[in-house]
């Protein structure tokens, strides 16, 4: 009975251990090594890579990454909830279409989507060209390469992750509850805040986790839409492994970033895990 199961699990085990866990173990090892003179890494063992993180420069980037991720998640929630509500309240024959329309940009390439915004926002982009053509502005507006552009890119990228789980909790909601609330004298706003929103909590929580995690570890969006000025932790990790060639410090940074995500997730699962499932 179990022989087939062992064979079936073997390839997944081999790949996961060999190309996910083993590489992570190497990163853990590197994070305690000293950087060599010409890049590379070796003895002696040290904790210096971790103590360097207390440098205000890196702390600032860490705090900023959190802020950008929190803001992006909040905006996704504010934009995603009403959209999910609209889809859940539309007729059953339309729901599939509305959901597919949310998913369509998500299915197309992330780089194409980021590039689409750069095409709109850059100095010679469509918005600036159009405004200049209309004579509204003489100098191009600095729309790209700032924190706002990064947040816009993240919100655009991850909004579907917020809409889907909220929609699936709202869809299961019994419509008679809304009628009952109305019969008991609640205004539509009161019903929304005191019946619909509390019942959608598991979806809100799941959506927020799904958006926050990739935002915190974002690399591509801050790199392209922030243009090097708006740096997040992911960019510092990449720099250490490429241009700076300080792998031990990059390794320590990667582990701190991963640990932050894990601790946060564990905390949320413990507090709201039952609702998530």
């Amino acid at each position: 009975m179990n022989q087939l199961r062992t064979w079936f699990l073997a390839p997944a085990r081999l790949l996961t251990f060999g190309f996910f866990l083993a590489p992570l173990a190497i990163v853990v090892l590197y994070s305690f090594l000293t950087r060599g003179t010409y890049g590379g890494q070796g003895a002696p063992f040290t904790l210096e890579n971790y103590t360097r993180l207390a440098d205000p420069l890196y702390l600032e980037i860490l705090v900023k990454s959190f802020w950008i991720a929190i803001l992006s998640t909040a905006i996704c929630l504010v934009m995603g909830f009403p959209l999910a509500l609209f889809i859940a309240r539309s007729g059953p024959q339309w729901r599939g279409t509305w959901i597919n329309l949310v998913m369509l940009p998500f299915w197309t390439n992330f780089l194409v989507r980021t590039y689409a915004w750069m095409f709109l926002l850059r100095d010679t982009g469509l918005i600036n060209t159009a405004f200049q053509g209309l004579g509204l502005i003489s100098q191009p507006l600095p729309l790209l390469y700032n924190d706002g552009a990064v947040i816009l890119g993240l919100v655009y990228g991850y909004l579907p992750f917020m809409v889907l789980p909220i929609f699936s909790t709202l869809e299961r909601q019994d419509p008679f509850l809304l009628e009952a609330a109305a019969d008991l004298g609640a205004t539509p706003w009161q019903t929304l805040w005191r019946v619909t929103v509390p019942m959608a909590k598991p979806g809100i929580l799941a959506g927020s986790v799904l958006v926050f995690i990739p935002c915190l570890g974002a690399y591509l969006t801050p790199d392209l839409m922030g243009g090097g000025k708006s740096i997040m932790i992911g960019n510092v990790v990449q720099q250490q492994f490429t241009s700076s060639r300080d792998w031990p410090f990059g390794a320590a940074l990667s582990l701190v970033l991963t640990a932050l995500v894990m601790v946060l997730l564990w905390f949320i699962m413990r507090r709201g895990g039952k609702e998530l499932i």
Partner: protein, 255 residues
């Protein structure tokens, strides 16, 4: 009244989601290389056809995505089945950890592994390392999709088949796999999109000679606007859209 506000908001949200890609597509047909409209033209698509770098990158991306999808779908499906038979907490835990680990961290750790291996074995970064990375990170997505499908599956069906003389593998192939098929298609589609989409991990493990489509778009996006990228992007949007519609049709036939 309130529903009308909600509908108005939804219209705005859908515009936000779709206008950027629509504008990009429209301007891929612009005769000018600048951002004002000068008339309809297909010249950027012609430029595209002569751009060997873009074509090679596109072929690489398709090759990688097809290989990684085939491998990850098979490996992930049988792994989900194995976990369904009896739980495998370590494997499951590692798969979920992989899902929430920031991509950049997965990428640099793979780079560290491959660089470490270079000291002992004679091989280089290239298509094979990219495919290996893609298969590894796609398995978790496949497992999740298949697990959702298996939840609705009755375990006694297989037992009945085996009572009637089917082998263990026969029961899997003839009874469980057909039920899982819509899930397998959905999983393959997801794996394909994720592989075709990936830039962060790919750019770290591809080495100097191998370029994928997202890598070319990245370089061009940094350098500035070339309408050829708009044309390429429009083709991706249309191609992926067609793939989704086809898959949806296929899935409707199966269920």
């Amino acid at each position: 009244m309130k529903n009308r506000w909600l509908a108005a908001y939804a219209a705005f949200a859908y515009l936000f989601l779709h206008v950027p890609l629509l504008v990009l597509t429209v301007f891929s047909f612009n005769a000018s290389r600048f951002t004002h409209w000068e008339g309809f033209s297909l010249k950027w698509y012609a430029v595209l056809l002569e751009d060997h770098r873009l074509i090679e990158a596109a072929l690489n991306s398709i090759l990688i995505a097809v290989a990684a999808t085939a491998l990850a779908t098979v490996i992930g499906t049988i792994a989900a089945y194995g976990i369904w038979k009896r739980s495998a907490p370590v494997l499951e835990g590692s798969l979920y950890t992989g899902l929430v680990t920031p991509e950049i961290v997965t990428g640099v750790s793979l780079l560290a592994l491959f660089q470490g291996l270079f000291h002992y074995f004679n091989f280089r970064l290239g298509l094979h390392t990219v495919i290996l990375a893609h298969v590894t990170f796609s398995i978790a997505y496949v497992v999740i999709v298949i697990q959702a499908r298996l939840k609705t599956m009755d375990k006694s069906l297989e037992e009945a088949a085996m009572d009637l003389g089917a082998t263990e593998f026969g029961a899997f192939r003839k009874v469980t796999l057909p039920v899982l098929m819509p899930g397998v298609i959905a999983a393959a589609l997801l794996a394909f999109t994720i592989s075709f989409d990936d830039y962060v991990i790919t750019s770290l493990v591809s080495g100097v000679d191998t370029e994928t489509l997202p890598m070319v778009i990245y370089t061009m996006a940094r350098k500035g606007v070339s309408p050829a990228v708009n044309a390429m992007s429009a083709l991706i949007v249309i191609g992926v859209g067609a793939l989704i519609v086809a898959a949806e049709k296929l899935q409707q036939q199966h269920t």
